[in-house]
């Protein structure tokens, strides 16, 4: 069993190192060759790509709140957030070359064993249900005091649509953060833990969630945009 374990883990680690060692320039050569061939065979320009099927193909998963968010990402591209959290428009980023390191780097992935995973419940995670009020903010959070009192809104986008957040600042602190409008294909109810976390932690940062978190990301963008206005 140990042999199998090391083989697949080692194979994935080796793949990462192999591609990293080759670097962007050399790796791109074959792809560019194919792309040129593709241009001949397909007159249309390359389209933005995806690895999953759209929800429209799955009627049983259509949302009751379905509003066609056709321009969601386009709107995101036209919107700028002024905080450290930024959303880049797809494909508009300047070409950046991943590093082309010295040949044959003998680097080992970060040491990690199953024993390294602490199996205790997360210390900072609040999986608040809609019925449970968010916990009171900690007594002293100087970083939060930079906000001006008032109610601010911001928009966030994901491929499922747009979410508007409404943030209330009282006494320089985040008093509440709510989902004001939800124009996603799926109901926003499943990210209701996110607003509670924003208040509890006085931050746009919520815990990372494994398993399709695009709507949470959109909410974070929306809160970031709202908080930018509150500064």
């Amino acid at each position: 069993m140990a042999k199998i374990s090391s083989s697949l883990t080692a194979l994935s680690s080796a793949a990462i190192l192999a591609v990293y060692a080759v670097g962007y320039h050399r790796t791109s050569a074959a792809a560019d060759r194919f792309a040129r061939q593709g241009e001949h065979e397909s007159p249309e320009p390359p389209i933005v790509t995806n690895f999953v099927a759209p929800a429209q193909a799955l009627p049983s998963f259509k949302s009751k709140l379905a509003v066609p968010p056709e321009n969601a990402l386009e709107r995101a591209a036209n919107r700028e957030t002024a905080t450290k959290t930024e959303i880049e428009s797809n494909g508009s980023a300047p070409a950046v070359t991943p590093s082309d390191p010295a040949p044959a780097p003998v680097e080992v992935p970060p040491p990690s064993t199953p024993e390294d995973i602490a199996r205790t419940p997360a210390p900072v995670l609040e999986a608040a249900s809609p019925d449970i009020p968010p916990p009171p903010p900690p007594p002293s959070l100087p970083a939060a005091l930079q906000y001006k009192d008032g109610t601010y809104t911001g928009w966030g986008s994901c491929r499922h649509g747009d979410i508007q957040a409404s943030v209330v600042i009282e006494g320089g602190r985040i008093a509440s953060a709510t989902i004001a409008q939800c124009y996603t294909r799926y109901p926003c109810t499943w990210i209701e833990h996110a607003p509670g976390q924003v208040v509890a932690r006085q931050s746009i940062k919520v815990d990372y969630v494994s398993g399709a978190t695009q709507s949470v990301d959109a909410f974070k963008q929306a809160v970031a945009e709202a908080l930018a206005k509150a500064k």
Binding site: M1, R26, P46, T49, F51, I87, A93, T189, V209
Partner: protein, 293 residues
């Protein structure tokens, strides 16, 4: 003590990818480079883009085709996982996904159709790799689907790029890699979505220097097919895998989703990764290391 973080998000691979670097305000260049790996791998490995290297490879049947390091490594890993899982994970499932309606480019909604009729008997055994020449030879017409490998691969490449920063997080639509500690100096807290109860997490784990990926039929709808039966699976609603790399976690989560419990758990134990499988009746099956004490 809470450290400031540098956080950026970008739209790539059909999702929003977020990178957080803890305690560093000069990570912009490295984060740019990390995101560029996503775009590079997407350009190579997308089956929805007819200009992608993967699509071009799929149109060349019978001859060894020299490919880039990215595509070679991605396919080689996918085939290795297919062999290990007895075909529960199979990158040649692409044509069956297309036949099942998974054939629309998400921005335009435009259907993407392969220019050939794939053989119904095609499997991962019809993909031959030449490690010396770095060529791939497809024995039959097929549509390779690297969806369960490519995003994890991109996360891993981004993680490799950010390795010097030690403390960082990469979130590609729920495919995560957590390096070092969070801004509070503790192991990263990762919630696992509840597969049925909206707004709830079914569990949370603390992770450091590992990847966490969850395969499930919720936000994106049913997108995992059983390669051995060519229809959507039904034994699990969510599978979470914690592994050293995201490409391994993602691929094994997909395979375990197809297998369902208890075979899925046996697979995870055999591979040496931790994981959690949730069934439609919300019964939990966990690896030994995943169980809380």
């Amino acid at each position: 003590m809470t450290a400031e973080s540098y956080v950026r998000s970008t739209a790539v691979m059909g999702t929003i990818a977020t990178i957080e670097v803890v305690g560093c305000d000069s990570a912009e260049t490295a984060v740019d480079t990390a995101f560029e790996w996503f775009r590079r791998i997407e350009a190579c490995c997308s089956r929805f883009d007819t200009a992608s290297e993967l699509s071009q490879l799929s149109s060349k049947i019978g001859n060894p085709v020299p490919v880039s390091a990215i595509l070679y490594e991605a396919v080689q890993f996918a085939i290795a996982v297919a062999e290990e899982t007895g075909g529960a994970f199979d990158p040649t499932v692409g044509y069956r996904m297309e036949a099942a309606g998974f054939n629309r480019e998400y921005h335009t909604g435009r259907p993407v159709q392969a220019a050939f009729d794939a053989d119904d008997s095609v499997s991962y055994r019809d993909v031959l790799l030449d490690p010396a020449q770095k060529t791939i030879r497809l024995l039959k017409p097929m549509l390779l689907d690297l969806g369960a490998v490519a995003k994890g691969f991109a996360v891993d490449m981004a993680a490799r790029e950010l390795l010097p920063f030690k403390d960082f997080a990469i979130d590609a639509g729920g495919d995560l890699y957590l390096g070092g500690c969070n801004s509070e100096g503790r192991a990263w807290s990762v919630g696992i979505r509840h597969p049925r109860h909206d707004g709830e997490l079914i569990d949370s784990i603390s992770v450091s220097n590992q990847a966490v990926c969850t395969s499930g039929n919720y936000e994106r709808g049913e997108h995992i097919l059983d390669p051995r039966r060519a229809h959507a699976t039904g034994n699990a609603v969510s599978v979470t895998v914690v592994a050293q790399t995201a490409m391994l976690a993602d691929a094994i989560a997909t395979a375990a989703f197809v297998l369902g419990p208890p075979e899925g758990i046996q697979l995870l134990e055999r591979i040496g990764v931790e994981g959690l499988i949730i069934t439609p009746s919300l019964e939990r099956f966990e690896t030994q290391g995943m169980r809380h004490g």
